[in-house]
């Protein structure tokens, strides 16, 4: 399982798409080195615009350019792409169904040492409430590539959330399809629904549970919006107990999305792994995952509790 930066994959995928399609334009806000849009800038300087540290202007300008038939990829850190430019995303991008694809890096707590101000933990919540927005949180590098290509090929606004750190590529992940989750394990005792880096943790937890005779289903729900309601209901019917895992506040993200589906259609017992209504802090990604209860061990503990 080779680990790689999903943002490296993003940069390379942009170049790949840029070679095929003249209508791709890329905007960044002074973070092109970190987001890897610099790869595109080097290949296609005439189709790259650096907006400096001005995310609101960047996002609204992207909506204007998209109205001229371009497909605009907009990148910065997740914190600034979402919270800083929220009004522009809502009113200039989503209200117009603009072909603006926001691919943000440095999502979640694993931003690490930069601390709370840079750890986007509310981004999915903010965007999930906006009509017309489509949201993908890829679980590994190759899935990031498929998500970016999907966003290019699918009309309308997208938010793709990538992390800062390297992530291992998952085996047998299957193909990413917008609006579809994928079962990576098929146990009957409990279902674990996860996205992003938490899919890996869910798989590790499943391996540990197996040793104790507990068989879990693991769903990679990279497509948060539209979400795969059918699959969520199916695994709820099969397992009757769920744990949802995300590198995000427990309000408004994947846990909320799964609860919304099940509350309406098939209520079951459901617990969560996520950041519990608090800000992050400085630390290494590994330390922070432990501190905020986001590792496989915590999933195992919650699973056992739910099964008691």
């Amino acid at each position: 399982m080779e680990a790689q930066y999903a943002r490296d994959v993003y940069g390379k995928t942009l170049v790949e798409l840029g070679k095929k399609h003249n209508n791709i334009v890329v905007f960044d806000a002074d973070l092109s080195g970190s987001t890897r849009t610099s790869f595109f800038r080097k290949e296609f300087p005439e189709r790259f615009f650096n907006f400096g540290v001005a995310e609101q202007n960047m996002v609204a300008s992207a909506a204007g350019l998209a109205s001229c038939g371009k497909i605009v990829f907009v990148s910065t850190f997740a914190m600034f792409a979402t919270a800083r430019a929220l009004d522009q995303v809502r009113n200039s991008v989503c209200l117009n169904k603009a072909n603006v694809k926001i691919v943000a890096t440095h999502g979640g707590i694993t931003v690490g040492e930069d601390g709370a101000s840079h750890q986007a933990l509310e981004d999915i919540n903010l965007f999930r409430a906006i009509p017309n927005m489509q949201i993908i949180v890829p679980a590994d590098g190759p899935e990031a590539r498929e998500a970016v290509i999907t966003a290019y090929n699918t009309p309308g606004p997208f938010y793709i959330r990538l992390g800062r750190s390297k992530i291992p590529s998952l085996e047998n992940r299957g193909e990413f399809v917008l609006g579809k989750g994928v079962c990576l394990e098929n146990g009957k005792d409990i279902a674990i629904v996860a996205c992003g880096i938490m899919v890996q943790q869910a798989l590790e937890a499943t391996a540990a549970l197996k040793k104790e005779g507990v068989n879990a289903t693991v769903v990679n729900m990279a497509s948060l919006k539209p979400i795969d309601s059918e699959l969520i209901i199916a695994v709820a019917k099969k397992c009757n107990k769920l744990i949802v895992c995300e590198e995000h506040q427990v309000t408004g993200g994947l846990y909320s999305a799964v609860c919304e589906v099940l509350a309406q259609s098939y209520p079951v017992r459901i617990d969560r792994i996520g950041v519990e209504n608090q800000f992050g802090q400085s630390g290494s990604p590994k330390e922070l995952m432990e501190f905020y209860g986001l590792t496989a061990n915590f999933i195992v503990e919650k699973a056992k509790k739910l099964l008691r």
Partner: protein, 280 residues
């Protein structure tokens, strides 16, 4: 030129009458800024911009973006008078299911991008101007802003970027009517020295009387000749222009006329029209 000016003046009066009628029926909306921007919109939609109302998506069209979206009654009237849609639609303004929303939306033929949340429009317009440059196309982008609106920080981000990207195909217009909802702009949040601000951000600045058709046409023509930098036309206007009891009155920023006020307003506007016709 004389005939053109006369034509644009009479179109402006038609727009003003429609604004009053639309807002009276809608029972809400923004007459003050709609009336102050009417002559600017009349010049743009009946002379300056290249467009094809029968083919609103004609790729070679100039783009107009109403950043001060609340003044859309003036724009809707201009679009209807150009034949983008039937003028019967105008009286559905702000009603459920109408193609004429309270703030601009792409459901209206001729509206490029929705607006209404202030401060974003100059960014949207600069995105359009980038689009023309990328396609090496010669169409221009016009963006109408309000004076209260440019208190938004986003405007100044866009101002910096448009100059940085040397977008000489972008022309901003400031409808400087000196009133915002809560009172005089000078008292709420002063914009002066406004010319220096735009110049220091790298823009070419043209000052004009926003109700003088000759001055406006001259300003638009000069703006098109400026190279390597964007241009802003700072148009001095009168809030509520054309209706005596609305002029310079902050209350009419966001209050619709009553049926009685409508009658008086329409009479005044008809008188203006008569006066114009008699000046030969």
């Amino acid at each position: 030129m004389k005939n053109k000016v006369k034509h644009l003046k009479s179109k402006a009066t038609e727009i003003r009458k429609l604004i009053i009628k639309m807002l009276t029926r809608a029972k809400s909306g923004h007459p003050g800024g709609s009336l102050s921007s009417t002559d600017i919109i009349s010049c743009l939609y009946f002379d300056v911009i290249r467009h094809d109302p029968k083919n609103p998506k004609w790729p070679g069209r100039d783009r107009f973006h109403l950043s001060k979206g609340h003044c859309c009654p003036a724009l809707y009237a201009a679009l209807a008078l150009n034949g983008y849609f039937s003028d019967k639609e105008l009286m559905t303004l702000r009603k459920l299911g109408s193609m004429l929303q309270g703030h601009p939306d792409t459901v209206t033929p001729g509206i490029e991008v929705a607006s209404g949340s202030l401060g974003q429009g100059l960014s949207v317009a600069l995105g359009m101007a980038i689009g023309a440059k990328l396609d090496k196309a010669d169409w221009r982008t016009y963006c109408l802003m309000g004076d209260g609106e440019i208190q938004e920080g986003n405007i100044w981000e866009a101002a910096m970027a448009a100059a940085h990207f040397k977008l000489d195909n972008l022309c901003g217009v400031l409808d400087y009517n000196h009133f915002q909802i809560d009172g005089r702009v000078e008292d709420i949040m002063n914009l002066e020295p406004i010319t220096n601000k735009w110049e220091s951000f790298g823009w070419h600045v043209i000052q004009c009387d926003g109700h003088n058709i000759e001055e406006l046409l001259d300003a638009f023509s000069k703006a098109a000749s400026i190279k390597q930098k964007p241009t802003i036309i700072i148009a001095q206007t009168v809030k509520g222009k054309g209706v005596s009891f609305m002029e310079h009155v902050a209350d009419f920023h966001g209050r619709a006329p009553s049926p009685e006020e409508e009658k008086i307003a329409l009479k005044e506007l008809s008188d203006i029209d008569e006066d114009e016709k008699n000046i030969q």
